[in-house]
Symmetry: C2
Subunit: 334 residues, 2 copies
DNA sequence: GACCGACTCGAAAACGTTATCGATACCGAT
DNA sequence: ATCGGTATCGATAACGTTTTCGAGTCGGTC
């Protein structure tokens, strides 16, 4: 527990025999300091292990070179995005900070939002938000949203083609001969959830197959409530022969529920998911699903954010393609 | 892209008709301001949506109420810890920030360490570190290490009983009749990896079973290199009948390698892991493993950190128990 | 040999907050 | 009335940086 005095710019200045102003210039690579001086200062900085104080920097220059990524929770989906973003940040000269809004807590929500705003406004230059909670466009700093919340906000976004993906999934099930297809949708305030349901309905209509409204239900955003919804669906007398789950997590929990009810996937029930989180390849049976390039989405979001801050003109809505990944959780009817 | 001026303390002070000093007092709940004034100020704060500037706060008071948790990478292990920590932080009045050191990049390592130090010294009050990279005890702020790196550092730590867990695993394999047991150990600079190997050897010795040195190898810390090690092990003419992998990730990749080589787990090869990350329940076959209470470890680490900062006297080395979780990846020999 | 420009450098103000400490107001008691 | 003592409040000096701008130096040119 050694207490070590933090070495500050004035320390560097003193030992190098120059003023703090000069040190600051050297640190930031500004013009106007002689070659020899700069090298000497660099030397001292290195020896003393000087690090700029983020607080002071932020206070004075309103720039910290730190970016944030805000996730609702650390689940597989956001973890993949995190990975992508943290890889992308490497060369950019920025530092990445992740924080979780701790969603799901009811009472604490005000507190969370406050401290969130506190971070945002003051110590990060911009943020990627991956959370269904309301976004505050009112802020003066840059944000880009991944898989954005519904609403009239025109935030820069990156998402994947949810509609097309849902069509892909539904058509696949249809091509296997299924017609009684159930859909467990995600939380309805997510644009992606709406689009997936829309894609599902559109594909069904296209195929001339009526959708039984009792078979499309919204699963909670929590894994447990998805299980509840799945159980309801599978308890129907004329239960569906296939289920298109709104995301892999609910697909996985559907499979678990099915197994618990004595149903065999894929023999008695086909299940297809959405996202292609790493877990979906591991479960038994391996889950057929729609791939979103999660890591790439994280990376794109970060790059977009960096560009926005740098002020480069570019398209601020990125939509990445989805893809059908066939594994073993679906099979032809009969 | 509306630019909104950040509302500062002086704004609040002006509209409330008091001085900034007073506002500061009511914000921090200090003694010495009249009831009525405090309420009025609170009101104004609310109306204007005032949030303190972290930068200024940190600069002036060296206290930010923000804690950090540093992970090497966002893999299942650290993600579980993250969850635990972020749940624990909720009531504590602190805000939690996660950052990844982006380990594995060779060249950038200097840069990472620098910016890391920058964050540490200046904008967070303490940190939980979950990374095998060298820890800097030299700092003046509080850290607690989870699953610490080896070395003479006497940092506050929380870990699980790795030795006992390894004994548990080995004895289980032994009790199944296995004697040719392989061990894939983790990166050798992790104390936990050393302890697991030690536990393995101890249990073997206790049972009077000699360990074949060709069967204990260190797998890289990456999942791919673990696969390489597993392949070597399984290619031996007298290959082991069981493998105790140093962690679940290498156990899982061992199972994959085994399958690719035409070996059936558990019929031809028993595999046991360590950690009990969520993935281990999902893989096929479900992995028998040693459970560490990961989320609880994260929570304990955070609580310890908070206590340390608060200056409460307490035990600074927490060791949580491990447990054998029997699933389907092991079976009796023959 | 005076002057001009280019080049280096440092003094000082500002960023938004907290902490100290003196000023003021008010009260009851002498 | 005067006084001591409490409440309550506000000026002000930090905290460590960045940035502006004026001062100083030096070499070269008429």
């Amino acid at each position: 527990m050694v207490f070590q005095q933090r070495v500050k710019m004035s320390d560097v200045a003193r030992t190098a025999g120059v003023s703090v102003a000069t040190v600051s210039k050297v640190v930031n690579g500004r013009y106007g300091v002689a070659r020899a001086t700069a090298e000497r200062v660099q030397q001292v900085i290195h020896e003393l292990g000087y690090e700029a104080s983020l607080g002071a920097q932020s206070l004075r220059s309103h720039r910290t070179n730190v970016l944030g990524i805000l996730v609702a929770e650390f689940e597989p989906f956001s973890t993949e995005l995190l990975k992508g973003a943290s890889q992308e940040v490497a060369g950019s000269g920025y530092q990445l900070l992740a924080y979780s809004s701790g969603d799901g807590e009811g009472a604490a929500v005000g507190w969370e939002r406050r401290s969130l705003a506190r971070l945002s406004g003051t110590l990060i230059d911009g943020a990627v938000i991956v959370t269904p909670t309301v976004v505050e466009t009112e802020n003066s700093f840059h944000v880009v949203a991944v898989d954005p919340h519904t609403g009239p906000s025109d935030l820069p976004t990156v998402d994947s083609d949810n509609f097309a993906g849902a069509v892909l999934a539904t058509n696949y099930l249809l091509s296997l001969g299924h017609t009684r297809i159930g859909h467990i949708s995600g939380r309805s305030d997510l644009k992606s959830a709406q689009l997936r349901e829309a894609g599902f309905r559109s594909a069904m209509a296209e195929a001339g197959v009526p959708v039984d409204e009792r078979l499309v239900r919204v699963g909670g955003f929590r894994i447990e409530s998805a299980a509840g919804t799945a159980a309801e669906l599978l308890s129907l007398i004329d239960r569906p022969s296939a289920i298109f789950a709104g995301n892999d997590l609910s697909a996985i929990s559907t499979m678990t529920v099915a197994r618990d009810m004595g149903l065999c996937v894929p023999n008695d029930l086909s299940v297809i998911g959405f996202d292609n989180v790493p877990e979906s390849a591991l479960v038994n049976p391996p889950l057929t699903t729609i791939m979103q390039p999660l890591q790439r989405m994280g990376a794109e979001a970060l790059r977009l954010l960096v560009d926005l801050i740098a002020g480069v003109e570019r398209d601020t809505h990125i939509r990445l393609p989805t893809e059908l990944v066939i594994r073993s959780s679906c099979r032809p009817l009969r």
